[in-house]
Symmetry: C2
C-alpha cells in the first residue's frame, strides 16, 4: 500500500516498477530463507524417522485387492492380509490357483473373495471394479502385484513375450488405478502398492525388456504421487513402490551368486510380510531387503565403470531360462 | 601345487580341505585388494574425465538411422548428422514431413534416404531393416528418437493413448534393436542412442504413463549395456541414453516455470547438437542440459519430502494439454 501511494516524484511510473521489483526481490529472499529452513528441518525429521520405529496402520476390516493372488508373493500377501483381519479380494487370470488361495484363507478363518480377471484387458478390469465396489464398498488397499518375467537375451525375446510383459507388468496397473483411484480421491484415503523389482533399480543382463517394465513402475508411481500432491496438497492417499530382490517364487528360474550367504533367495512368505509392513508404514519406496534402495542411491553417484567392478566381484544375477 | 603334495600328515584328506579353504580365502583377499585398487583408480579416472574434453568420434561416411526424422529433434539431428558427412536414413510414419527432411538435407548437399515406417509394427521394422542393410550396408548409429507425449492427469488418459505411448516410446525400440544389433555384435562396433527424457529421471504430474515409458527407456538401456558386456567383456558397442529437459518441439504444449531465465525451453537445434555430441563422445547418459543427470543423482539421496519443497519453490512443470 505505502509503495503505491508514493507518487510525489516526477517519474512515478518508473519508480513504481522499481519498487515492485524490489518488493518481488524481498518476497523471493523470504521464500528462499523459508525454503532453506524447511528443507533442513525436513531432512533432520527424515533422518530421525530412519532410526525410529514407524507405526503400523491397522488393516483390520479393510478391503484389500491383490492381483496375481493365485501364486507366489500375491498368494502369500493374500493369506497374511486375511490373517490380519482384512477382507481380501483375490484377482488372478488362473481360476484354479486363485480358488485355492481363497480356499486356504477361508480354511484359516479369514475372509476372501476370488475373481477371475485378465488385468491386461481394460474393459474387464473396469467392469469387475464397478461390480466389486457396488457389492463390497470402498477398496482401501490396491496391490498391483501380477507380473511375468521372461529371462533371456533381448535378441531371443519374441514379440508376444515383450508385448505381454508390458501389458501385464505396467499397462494393466493403469487400468487398475483408473478403476480404484477415483473413490480414493473422493474419500481422500487409500493406498496403492506397486510391485517393481530390483530390476527397476539396476539394469540386469537377460532381463532387458523386464528391466524396462520395472523401471516404468518406479517412474509412473513417482509421477502419480507427484500428480496427486499437485492436485491436492493435503492428499492422504499413499503410494508404495516395492523392489524385491530375488524371491523364490518360480519367476526367478536360474539365479547365480558368488556369495550365497550374502545374497540368497528370499521366501515368498518373508517377502509378503515385508511388503505388508512397507504398506502399513506408508513407505514410499521399499526394497526387499530394505537396504537395497540405499545401495541404489549410493551406486547412482558412483561412476558406472566403477560399479561394474563391484558387480563383477559379486557375480550375482539370473541366467537365461532357455538353457 | 605345494599344497597338494603336502600329504605326509596322518589326516591328509581333512587337511587338504582345510588347505583348500585357506587357498580360497587367500584368493578372495587378493580379489578384494584388487577390487579396491581398481575401484578407486576408476573413480579417479572418471573424475579426471569430467574435467577433460572428450574426443569426438567422426561420423563422416557412416550410416545413421533416425526414427521420427520428420519432426522436431529427429529432423534437426538428421540435418546436423548430414552436415557432418554422415549418410542419414530418415524413418518416419508421416511421409510428407519425412520427405521434407530428406529434401532439405539434399538441398544442403548432404546424403539422405527416406523410409516410411510405423516403428510399432515389428514385421514392418524387420523387413525394412533387412532391405536397408542389404542396400546400404552396416548401420553404425541407430537413434531411437520417435516418441509421443500426451499430457494430462492419469484418470483422463484413454486406453488408446496409453497403448500407443508404450508401443512407440518403448516397445518399438526393441524391434529396432533386434533388427540392427546383430550386425553390430558381428562387427563389434556401433552405437545405439535412445531418447529418454527428464521425465525418465523424475516423476512429473500430468505425465504419469509418459514417465513410465521414459523410465523404461533408461532401465532397458542400462540392462542392455550390461547384457552386452556380460556376453563379451571386450564389447565396443556403445549405448547412449539421452534425457532432454523441455524442448520446444511442440510435444511440450503448456510448460510453466517460475524462473524462465533459469529453466527455459531449449530449441530443437541446440538439443540435436547436444545429442550428437553425447553420441560422438560415447557418453552413457547425457541430459540436456548436461547437469540434470547430476541433479537427479543428488536428488535421489535427498529425502523425497525435502525435494518436494525444492520442486514447489521452483514451480516448474507441464500443464495439461486439455485446457
Amino acid at each position: 500500500m505505502s509503495i503505491q501511494s508514493n507518487n510525489n516524484k516526477p517519474n512515478g511510473g518508473g519508480i513504481e516498477i522499481g519498487q515492485n521489483t524490489i518488493y518481488n526481490i524481498v518476497l523471493l529472499i523470504v521464500d528462499i530463507v523459508l525454503l532453506v529452513f524447511k528443507f533442513w528441518l525436513t531432512i533432520i525429521q527424515e533422518i530421525i524417522k530412519i532410526f525410529s520405529t514407524r507405526p503400523l496402520e491397522h488393516v483390520n476390516g479393510k478391503l484389500v485387492l491383490i492381483t496375481g493372488a493365485g501364486h507366489g508373493m500375491g498368494k502369500e500377501m493374500a493369506l497374511q492380509y486375511a490373517s490380519l483381519g482384512a477382507k481380501v479380494l483375490c484377482w488372478d487370470v488362473n481360476e484354479q490357483t486363485n480358488t485355492q488361495t481363497v480356499k486356504e484363507i477361508k480354511q484359516a478363518g479369514g475372509t476372501a473373495h476370488g475373481y477371475i480377471c485378465n488385468v491386461a484387458r481394460r474393459e474387464e478390469v473396469l467392469e469387475l471394479a464397478t461390480k466389486i465396489q457396488k457389492e463390497h464398498g470402498f477398496v482401501s488397499i490396491v496391490i498391483n502385484n501380477a507380473g511375468i518375467m521372461p529371462c533371456h537375451p533381448l535378441l531371443e525375446h519374441t514379440e508376444q513375450e515383450i508385448r505381454l510383459m508390458y501389458d501385464v507388468n505396467v499397462v494393466a496397473h493403469f487400468w487398475i488405478i483408473q478403476a480404484f483411484l477415483p473413490a480414493m480421491i473422493e474419500r481422500n484415503e487409500g493406498n496403492i502398492v506397486a510391485l517393481s523389482s530390483c530390476a527397476g533399480l539396476f539394469g540386469l543382463a537377460n532381463l532387458v525388456p523386464y528391466c524396462g517394465t520395472k523401471f516404468a513402475v518406479r517412474g509412473y508411481m513417482a509421477a502419480l504421487a507427484e500428480e496427486l500432491r499437485k492436485q491436492n496438497p493435503l492428499s492422504k492417499i499413499k503410494f508404495t513402490t516395492i523392489y524385491p530382490y530375488m524371491i523364490d517364487t518360480g519367476l526367478c528360474k536360474n539365479p547365480h551368486y558368488r556369495f550365497p550367504n550374502l545374497m540368497k533367495l528370499i521366501s515368498p512368505k518373508d517377502a509378503a510380510a515385508s511388503i505388508i509392513e512397507a504398506q502399513r508404514q506408508g513407505l514410499e519406496e521399499a526394497a526387499i531387503p530394505r537396504h537395497f534402495v540405499g545401495v541404489e542411491k549410493v551406486s547412482r553417484i558412483i561412476p558406472r565403470k566403477a560399479m561394474r567392478l563391484v558387480n563383477d566381484f559379486l557375480d550375482t544375477g539370473v541366467d537365461t531360462d532357455k538353457i
